[in-house]
Amino acid sequence: MKTNYLLPPCCKIIGWCMLLPFMAIFLFVLSDSSYDGDIVMKVFAVVSDDGWFKFIETGILFEIGIIGLVSSLSLISFSREKDEDEYIEKIRLQSLVQSLMISCIVLILGTLFLYGISFLLFTLLNMFFLLITFVLIFNIRLAKLRNSCDE
């Protein structure tokens, strides 16, 4: 009963190794917007302040942080467990549904109660919320399952 839509188990380790540095980059750029050591590059923008389909010069550290963070969280989330079977698959599905529900509730609450800059910051962090919640719920449930079997 092998699941073909998931990545090989080694991708999970790669994801965990990537997570910390990219999270550090993301949080650093987020906390220090006046940081002037950014890597400035000419990039292709589909839409920018200058109009459609233009090459613009911009700092790319923040983009590196976001892409790295999403990639590492995706690698952790979508890697097969070494002993993946239909029960773990069921736990995976349940965790995904639960994290989606929590994410929707948080989005609604954020929209209701956050305004101005804090709402912008919230939408930025909300991009990762679903993945982070899924990783947390799935791994906690998996650890509980393994512990209960060892007892």
């Binding site: 239909e86 399952l145 079997c149």
Partner: protein, 53 residues
């Protein structure tokens, strides 16, 4: 019965021990394929794997 451990049964039907444990404790209802495999191991009808509430 066969007098085998959960791990031995798990290896025979190619799932993890946690899954066998969950089926035994009633936390998880196995798929039809897994039920057929378990039934074959114990040489019992497939219905005997399921407990209808």
């Amino acid at each position: 019965m066969l007098n085998i451990t959960q791990q031995q049964l798990a290896d025979m039907v190619k799932v993890s021990r946690q899954t066998i444990n969950a089926i035994e404790s009633g936390k998880y209802t196995p798929s039809a394929i897994l039920a057929i495999k378990i039934a074959r191991v114990f040489k019992k009808p497939v219905e005997s794997v399921f407990l209808v509430e």
